[in-house]
Symmetry: D2
Subunit: 327 residues, 4 copies
């Protein structure tokens, strides 16, 4: 198939490449001409703008994969495309859009007869080689129509052992993509994926923090251990319960430098972790761990919170306690 | 009555003073001669050492109030006193001893015929004027014997409105002291008091942090408020649900400086907050808030945790994300 | 002054009463005729509907206090009033409206020349006697115009000790009301008040839970205490750090029944606790304790979460662990 | 090699089998004769008691692997063995002993010239086939001596991709076992492994809970998704960031029954999760997620906490709020 790809950052460019490797054709465009040219040199059809890109998609329905940062730029691009496309054409948002924006957008596009798919796309820097895990929301016919595209992008069954009891269930999930539900469902599932990711990362991070601080000389000498964190991470990769890709990555980083001294300790968060908590609250589902994981990232980016000063002020008030650094 | 007071830091000295103001007599000693002399000038009987202090307590049973930092120094002092006192005499530990140490110590002293009372003492810098809230563990007869002492130290009913339905209940609680149970129970109750204190403080602190950051220019202009925190704290002191002494102290600090700029943000924690979590775990009681309150204090004393570096290392691994400050 | 009061539930009715006791006049209406009649019998002017209520406010600017559950009914009432009132008139929303709704509503009303005040009102069942703590957002002139109303509703300075250092600060806060900022600021401050309330309550609740479970016979006999919770709560009311109205209420409840057996354990939450977390997330402020306090309420209303079943399913998967109740 | 194995529950029996499959010989004993007989039938040397077991180990140093529930029974068995063994012999505790008990025990045995190894053993029901991940503490010579045993029990490198940068590092970690440090270090690392496991499980569980409750009819119709959890779990197994063994197990369970209706929702916890928090507290390391994961398990085993009743009692006190179920 031939589809358009708008947005040629790392994700968009590699998606185009993976499609081409599978025998599909990509008409590509980006506001930055460099990646357009580069992809052109790799066999993609370089477009000169959105109108030109749409023009270069001859088949009907046309399909355009938008792979841009969520927010204004995705919104504007979708709007412009909606003026260039015709009834039945398909716009795919492969970015990290908030599912409520998908719902709103899907409704607006449906009024014009356009079909909108929200595709949560996981894979990061590894997607080109490993394939992308795809969580798709939207019209079943459109999803069916684009099945060859999704199948090409997804990792496929690979060497991963089959889950017993999946006979009779949708075979796409085993190939690494799923049609989760109507518009919004794809990004919703991806959002929760990221929420879980935050929690699993934080669990791992706290554990290694406790391991590392076991060497502290404030502890009794025979309860103090100077553990080799690289070896610990490595040993857990085989036969333990915490075996996971996140552990592999941790083992990787610790094998390079057990002190992780290249990392400042400031940790960014993206929308999904935040929206996950909002979704939990809307549903009245307790989500202590996912929330705490988000909050530790907030905390990591500040030297001190105002909350901490309030604590010290109270302690000074009731007990005359003077914290270090008080002026 | 005449009792001995060992340890004349702020708490011990003021306890002596409050006892004397109520007509009792205090025989005082401290390793540091200055407060001994000072208290002597205020009417206390200055002792030249533990043996002299015990000597200067003529009545039987003798009672000595130990008011020292918990741990080694309290342990040693109690041990020394146990060699100087006689059957039926009473040692009071008014410090912040771990209740399991009380239990062990009480058992050892009982074998010598000595009576041990653990008295959780709350009041801080305000105790001399407001009185001390006392949570007492140990032998009922010893507690009864020292009732005049406890009554003098406690705040008394004051102007605080009576709780309906207390008819027929132990009147001591309304006067600010309670006999909580056998040895250890006093410090156990005080420990939980401090655990709750941590949680209430943290709740207050987080709320003021959210209020303060509402002025952030990352927010939409009409959802951004530059709130006067001193006025907010003050207004809540009257008629709101969060009315509390901790709020009074917060209002106090914010009236002096809304930015609390004298405080670095590093917050100490003492044993009680930690032991509270251990007690919860022993009992399998969920204590999310008390634990989180402790952890934020741990976090406040570090520039960055190793956990945060682990997070960044994973993010770099799976997504190529480069956090600020990465080298 | 004479103002209109719409909504005569417990809060609205008592607000009307408190205004009348201070010499003001209230024109009252409610969809339910009973409280209208009742208030009429107490000296209020009974209105036959919103139009009649507006009619019965002779002075300009007219002011109507809406005291209804937040959401649709408040929205509709404000909309109807906005069609009945004239330029410069004032609508007060004293309910628990989401501050973002205030911002939107205030903007819409301003286009019609109407003034909108959002007044966070704390006081519950005690407000009539103690006065209401008022947190006000909106146009300064309108706030100034209604100062006699706010002063009458607020608790006044009372017997609460003055905060040192408040000289030169806005005196209204000491009388129990504050003008927090533009439209939305009042409900924002009230929202955070409730968020803090959740956290303080949860801290207290966890502490008493640990105290109570100390009697468990799974603990070593000499570390097991059968504590009198009513006495513990009572003793903390005097001289301790956790002295607070919430503690008073706890002491009250425990004095009536130490087992609190009348309470099922299901705990409701209202919007404010949820919105507080959303505000924290918008500001990237860590709010572990406030979030955990919300989540425990969510949890309290379920027999079991699906999350717990997922945990058991994993445990069964990796370890063959069979939890109690497994079929 | 020939070693003794004491305790033939699932773990001990399968350890014996895995050793025999690798050509080693096991002298086995259990208080329950059935598994002794069974293992005897599979080629193990059946012992008639501890003395007989020690007798049947001809080589020096003798080595006995104790695989019993932690606590009293392990303690007693180790004590008995210590009376039967000779200088230089080795006792291995493969159970889940608290590392502080190891430290104490190791010291006592060292005084008798015995060597004690604490071996954290992960593998559960899968260990026989997959191999056991081993975390070893104790004397390096003893660890070296038993290397063939550890190598046989561990999973070996398998098909798991090599971590780049491990050249020059201890090769044992890549084969699934590690010598973590002196006595106690093995169980310490295993303990933290379990702590992390709790956190990762809870993250996963919360995520699936939010996914499942997205079908709730309290949500707006177009933000409501009836997601197929089995497919979601399955799709994440390929190419996503949360790929892990725990996810595999979840996919497994959900493929069998999306409602997990066989599971009651009560979740047990073992010592390691609790001790992990204690270790974090000793080190002043924040561990919000690991603690919250423990607390949700505590909560899962109660119908209601007393804390929740305290909350309701306060809400009734300040607001007259009557929760469902109040009498």
């Amino acid at each position: 198939m031939r589809i358009g790809v708008v947005g040629l950052g790392r994700m968009g460019a590699n998606i185009s490449r993976r499609l081409m490797r599978a025998g599909h054709s990509a008409v590509v465009w980006d506001a930055n001409p460099a990646p357009v040219e580069a992809l052109g040199g790799e066999g993609a059809v370089a477009a000169g703008g959105l109108a030109d890109l749409v023009e270069k998609l001859p088949d009907s329905p046309k399909a355009v994969w938008v792979m841009l940062p969520h927010g204004r730029i995705t919104e504007d691009t979708v709007n412009t495309l909606s003026g260039l496309l015709s009834r039945g054409d398909i716009i795919i948002d492969g970015g990290n859009t908030y599912y409520k924006d998908d719902v709103r957008r899907g409704r607006a596009l449906a009024e014009k007869g356009l079909r909108y798919l929200d595709v949560g796309t996981s894979g990061g820097v590894w997607g080109l080689a490993r394939g992308y895990c795809l969580m798709i929301g939207g019209d079943p016919d459109a999803v069916q129509h684009l099945d060859p595209i999704f199948a090409a992008l997804a990792p496929g069954p690979g060497t991963i052992e089959r889950t017993p009891g999946r006979e009779g269930r949708d075979p796409r999930a085993e190939r690494g993509y799923t049609h989760a539900g109507p518009v919004g469902a794809g990004h919703f599932v991806k959002m929760i994926h990221n929420g879980i990711e935050y929690g699993m990362m934080q669990a791992m991070a706290e554990g290694f923090d406790i391991l590392r601080n076991r060497a502290s000389d404030t502890l009794p000498a025979d309860e103090r251990f100077d553990l080799n964190l690289a070896d610990v991470a490595e040993v857990w990769r085989r036969g333990s319960v915490v075996t996971s890709w996140l552990l592999d990555l941790t083992a990787d980083a610790l094998a390079k430098d057990e002190h992780l001294s290249a990392f400042s300790g400031e940790v960014a968060d993206s929308g999904e972790g935040r929206w996950t908590i909002e979704a939990a609250i809307e549903e009245a589902v307790p989500a202590e761990v996912l929330a705490a994981s988000l909050f530790t990232r907030f905390r990591s980016r500040q030297q001190h919170t105002f909350a901490e000063k309030v604590l010290s002020a109270m302690r000074f008030g009731f007990g005359g306690h003077v914290e270090p650094g008080k002026t």
